[in-house]
């Protein structure tokens, strides 16, 4: 109940930032585009043709391919642009909580410091999840109604996006509690987001290095950090209904989130405000 009130307040604070409104606006625009760009002619209960941007598409296999294509496109857009925007929009949530005169109020209430931190974290997750599922559910529904093909993998893609955000936001929360600076935490999180995929190519880096110690270091870094590039691959597999070869990137990234939150909670507990 008290935790919920902290989540609600965090939610309310996020809403006050215009970024999420812009997010919703863009999502709505994409849905409208889908409504008007994709036309279906149904004859005798059978699809006779689907037209996209005025071009006719005949075969059912073709339609499925197009559907998966559009959904993959939106999912990747959300996975990259959506997470990018969400991190930006939530970057000030923890630093603003830690401001003198605000955090005092929370701690003086009958809530534990852990609840305060979790409330903030979950509040951010809730609003990002709402934004992401707003687009996934609406665009998915429009596409499925129009094509008659229901692709549940697309919904799962939404889950992957939220979880990936959760891992990165855990890192940002940790950095924010350490530094109390939103911009700094955001920058480092972006660095991890963009440069961790390079660790996939670490074998090539090893070739250039003299000592095997570097190898262990990069291996360690790879297994420790959220694996955004591979999560992107899992996402695409899910959307296009292909089997996922390894879930390791997902569970290890979740482990990263839990670890980060635990360390952050420990530091937060010890802090003076």
């Amino acid at each position: 109940m008290k935790l919920w009130s902290i989540i609600l307040l965090t939610f309310r604070e996020s809403l006050a930032k215009k970024t999420f409104m812009a997010f919703l606006g863009i999502s709505t625009f994409i849905c409208l585009l889908l409504i008007f760009a994709l036309n279906l002619d149904i004859v005798n209960g059978m699809q006779s043709s689907v037209s996209l941007f005025g071009q006719d598409i005949e075969s059912a296999a073709e339609i499925t391919k197009i559907l998966f294509g559009i959904e993959s496109g939106i999912a990747i857009l959300l996975f990259s642009g959506g997470i990018f925007m969400s991190l930006f929009a939530t970057s000030s949530l923890v630093p603003s909580l830690l401001q003198e005169g605000y955090i005092d109020i929370f701690i003086s209430k009958p809530v534990s410091r852990l609840d305060i931190l979790l409330g903030r974290y979950l509040g951010a997750i809730v609003i990002v999840a709402l934004n992401i599922f707003y687009l996934v559910i609406f665009s998915g529904a429009i596409l499925s109604i129009k094509t008659g093909i229901w692709n549940w993998g697309y919904l799962w893609a939404g889950v992957i996006i939220v979880l990936t955000f959760g891992a990165l936001f855990a890192l940002m929360t940790f950095l924010s509690v350490l530094s109390r600076s939103g911009p700094l935490s955001l920058m480092i999180t972006y660095l991890v987001l963009f440069f961790s995929p390079m660790l996939l190519a670490r074998d090539e880096i090893y070739a250039l290095l003299s000592s095997p110690v570097y190898g262990y270091f990069f291996d360690g870094l790879y297994y420790f950090l959220p694996k955004t590039a591979e999560l992107g691959v899992i996402l695409q597999k899910l959307v296009s209904n292909q089997p996922v070869e390894s879930w390791m990137p997902l569970w290890s990234s979740m482990l990263f989130a839990v670890f980060m939150l635990a360390v952050t909670a420990y530091i937060f507990q010890k802090k003076n405000f």
């Binding site: 009130s5 005092d104 109020i105 003086s108 009958p110």
Partner: protein, 307 residues
């Protein structure tokens, strides 16, 4: 059970260079208004923050309402107005009370009712649906006070509650605090407005450089035995002559005469003599020093032997 009890609390900053609190032991009884005084940087805010768990002490023990300060659940019965509180500007006054009321464990209609009562009490009823960013400093302070009372607390910490509030508002807050005390609540007050503290506090403590200099009931500190302020119309010379004859110490401050007598008999004899010499007495007032004078004396006595 004491409302607040601390033993040997200490808090250092900057690797021990700043001693915000040193070996600070204090007990505050329930149902009293307690004023903590001290110059800027004395450690008053640090003390409140430690007992509320906002900062951690480097040493010592403390409890509030009989529970160790690490037990956050006791905050169910605590109200706190922070010196620098600030609520998000986009929230309305009503929402501020709503969210923090919920965090204090209130729900539903009980919360709604309490919100309206408190807004009424701090004269912000018309501002319930206005955003905090539209509020003047004094209005924010009133809202802060309302928020501190939302859970009907037993022990209330107020860090400079009348800061930025106009004279009429200050009197209202003073009356409110006395009302709360009469309801059996304990109020712990940090304030620089000594005339106010003097008027409402039952007990005070003076803190300087993190050390406790004085603690006790206000009236004991302020009463000065057998000194009276004497106001007469004229005949200054007559007064001087009589005092000299009776060996009564006479001094003159701020245009009034101060007399220091041995006992009540001597005071009455002095009055008789003055009257028979046709001196017109306007007033004889037992002398009390102001809290401000007392405070400055204590601080000056302890000048220089700080850190």
């Amino acid at each position: 059970m004491f409302a607040i009890e601390t033993q040997h609390l200490s808090k250092f900053y900057s690797r021990g260079k700043v001693k915000a609190l040193q070996n600070f032991s204090l007990t505050v009884e329930q149902g009293k208004i307690f004023g903590l005084l001290g110059p800027n940087g004395a450690g008053k805010t640090t003390f409140i923050k430690i007992v509320l768990g906002i900062i951690h002490p480097n040493g010592g023990k403390a409890s509030i309402l009989g529970k160790p300060i690490t037990d956050y659940k006791v905050h169910r019965h605590i109200g706190y107005l922070s010196e620098k509180h600030h609520f998000p500007g986009f929230l309305t006054a009503g929402r501020v009370l709503y969210y923090f009321g919920k965090m204090s464990g209130l729900t539903g209609s009980a919360l709604e009712k309490r919100m309206d009562e408190l807004l009424e009490l701090v004269k912000l009823s018309d501002w319930k649906n206005h955003k905090v960013r539209e509020f003047s400093k004094g209005m924010q302070q009133r809202l802060g006070l309302a928020h501190a009372l939302i859970n009907d607390p037993k022990l209330i910490f107020l860090d400079e509650p009348t800061d930025g509030i106009d004279p009429v508002g200050r009197r209202e807050i003073r009356d409110l605090l006395q009302l709360l005390r009469d309801q059996g609540k304990t109020i712990f007050l940090n304030s620089h407005l000594l005339s106010e503290v003097e008027r409402i506090s039952d007990e005070i403590a003076i803190l300087k450089d993190g050390r406790l200099l004085k603690k006790g009931p206000v009236h004991e500190f302020l009463a000065v035995d057998r000194q009276y302020q004497l106001k007469i119309a004229q005949e200054k010379n007559t007064l001087e002559a009589i005092c000299q004859k009776m060996s009564v110490t006479l001094s003159q401050t701020d245009g009034a005469f101060m007399i220091s007598v041995k006992n009540d008999e001597q005071l009455n004899e002095l009055i008789d003599r003055l009257r028979s010499s046709k001196v017109l007495i306007r007033a004889i007032v037992p002398y009390k020093i102001s809290l401000e004078d007392f405070f400055i004396d204590v601080i000056e006595e302890n000048e220089g032997d700080g850190q």
